[in-house]
Subunit: 412 residues, 2 copies
């Protein structure tokens, strides 16, 4: 018998009707010979509701107690789904994180999973019982509840899949797979049949909000076949796996973008050792998350230093750096909060030279000025003015023929 | 240092503002040298909301899963109250039932507490930390969540008080104590300074909704001084204790009533052994809860058999007994769903004869017909037509001078 993990996110269990639809779906899988371990999130909106309830009680809510508060959301969903399954004659049993010893590291609000006791789950499967597991939560060595941070239910699903050793881990969501680009921006964006963990990790980190990056990392590490598919419609979705089984690998698999970005540039900075940490230190300690960092060395012993942050952090970062500018004697400080980042991702880049050039040429042909460039082995990211975002994504998508049917892949 | 348990019910923690008021109050106790272990219910309305959510998902929701669902309500409150306390500089830590091993017997929805591990609570008290404990829940030997049934948080509070060995267990609620009668019915109803466990148990069982009967039983068994007082106003409330410390014991302590009652009478029943169980058996197995049972033996070998049930069970009980009537050959079957029960309670009755006579005379003076009578050592209950309820309560209250100040008690 095939055994799979299915994770249902907040929208998929967002109402009584949707929970019932999920129960129907799990029953159909069982009837066709596939046993499901279900992992669920809180009903959509619930985590936000609880969080703002906490913030209305305390200006600085204790992290330990915020985790106790938030973890109650998943508790509601597991009970409701288990009820709905039993009602349909599909025996099911709910599990909170601590009931299957999802052991976490004690970092409230962003805990990592260390271990899971699969004994009860294995016993349930042997008896034909469907376990329904609360995502997003675990318990630390001192018995405190921990949550894994937003998107943590994906990680729970992969961890359960790895620990039990199932055939596949399915992330059931409100989109039917991973696309070559955002279909709202690119008309002929195409659903990918397969993608590698590395590619998915880059896409997930780059703002393609389908999967939480940590869950992809986890799946790659433990070689858990991961599939993204729709909760609402039937379909194969996108399989995320170690190696593509297709004969032909496309050079570029997909394009991701992030809109809410800002960049800060400090120009005419003395080019001496330790200057980067003098600039970024105060920002990181704020703490403001820094994404891309680019430094160019000039000929006059001065350098220009640019980095990107979330748009909401732009003003604060600029303010922090005003003091830094004076202390290090930099010539100029400037911010730009109307930028966007576009990235092309593909393991095929490794063996194909000139991908960057093709990308830059395509942008130049549309008169789109590139403000920053950053590359890794399977990814090229550029920053452009936000108004060019859609045009840039479309012209790159077209340049790499991502809309065309790739016969070898589609029939794989 | 004095250590007390304070239980706050749903109304007392029904909003962000009320939770903050409770936090303020606990801080004041601490500042005046009293350490509090707080036990809380779900925010008012929350348990009902969760229960109906469960019933909308499944026609017959599994009891195990209903407990998982309902227990999430208290989880929210402990987190919020612990946050509010910490925000005010009062170090606090929340505990779910399983985090202090509130071991229960596995009866979903109506579990009983078997044991509590007080180690963490004692350690907190030693460090000056206020534990905030989820009422209403525990965990059974197999690790399943259990709830204690409605009003179960009172029982949790008393169990914690008994296990830790505190000076007093305070039930903080929306009334400021236990009254000689319902103040909405009797104008000069008086708050009692003290009442015995036995008396409170009778009053609690008889529809005076201040305390859950099981918690009173528990407090009596473990000799935990119990106090009912207002969550919102300062005041001594009512102390429930083993022996009254007052010199003079009033004959009657209080009057309780239950409005939503019905009675079923089967007349002309052959007076032979086993007949009671033939009549009540089908009713109990329905299951319908039977309250008062009265049987009078007549001279002709026939007897009349009357019992009371909740008004909502009247029609079903009558239907069940139609079949019984034919099988045992009883002459007549009749129901009355417009009745009410009134009870006077007092340990003083033990040593004072004639209490029943005074009560019956008082009713007769107002031309109120008594339909049923049932007595115990410290209680006399009568059933009257519902329309006489208020008049009956008032005339009995007056007959026993319950409105008058009792100097010895008030100065106790």
């Amino acid at each position: 018998m095939t055994v799979i993990v299915q994770k249902y996110g907040g929208t998929s269990v967002g109402s009584v009707e949707r929970i019932q639809a999920v129960a129907e779906r799990i029953c159909r899988y069982r009837d066709s010979g596939t046993q499901v371990l279900a992992v669920v999130s809180a009903m959509s909106g619930e985590t936000n509701r609880l969080e703002s309830l906490g913030r209305s009680v305390a200006g600085k809510p204790l992290a330990r107690e915020m985790d106790v508060l938030l973890a109650s959301g998943e508790q509601v969903t597991i009970a409701l789904l288990a009820m709905a399954l039993n009602e349909r004659g599909c025996r099911a049993r709910s599990y909170l994180g601590d009931q299957i010893c999802i052991r976490t590291d004690g970092n409230f609000g962003r805990a990592r999973i260390k271990d899971i006791d699969t004994e009860a789950l294995r016993a349930d499967l042997a008896e034909g019982i469907t376990p329904v597991i609360a995502g997003f939560q675990g318990v630390d060595a001192d018995g405190n509840l921990n949550t894994l941070g937003r998107g943590g239910s994906d990680t729970t699903a992969v961890a359960i899949a790895a620990a039990v050793g199932v055939d596949e881990c399915q992330i059931c969501t409100d989109v039917d797979g991973v696309y070559t680009a955002d279909p709202r921006v690119v008309d002929d964006a195409r659903r990918l049949q397969q993608i590698t963990f590395e590619e998915m990790l880059e896409l997930a980190s780059l703002g393609s909000k389908v999967l939480h990056p940590r869950s992809v990392e986890f799946a790659g590490k433990y070689r858990v076949p991961l599939r993204v598919l729709s909760s609402f419609e039937e379909g194969p979705g996108t399989l995320i796996t170690s190696e593509k089984t297709t004969m032909e690998q496309p050079i570029v698999s997909g394009i991701a973008y992030a809109r809410d970005e800002a960049k800060i540039t400090m120009s005419g900075v003395p080019d001496i050792p330790g200057i980067a940490s003098k600039i970024l230190g105060p920002v990181s300690r704020a703490p403001i998350e820094v994404d891309m960092i680019v430094q160019n060395t000039g000929a006059d012993g001065l350098t220009d230093f640019t980095f990107t942050v979330k748009r909401s952090d732009h003003d604060r970062a600029l303010e922090l750096l005003t003091a830094v500018q004076q202390s290090i004697g930099a010539r100029e400080l400037a911010g730009d909060n109307k930028i966007a980042k576009i990235s092309v991702v593909g393991v095929g880049m490794r063996s194909h030279a000139g991908v960057a050039t093709r990308m830059f040429d395509a942008l130049a042909a549309e008169n789109i000025n590139i403000l920053m460039i950053s590359t890794s082995e399977i990814k090229i990211s550029v920053v452009v003015a936000e108004r060019y975002l859609e045009l840039a994504v479309r012209c790159i998508h077209s340049e790499f023929d991502l809309g065309a049917d790739i016969v070898a892949e589609e029939t794989a």
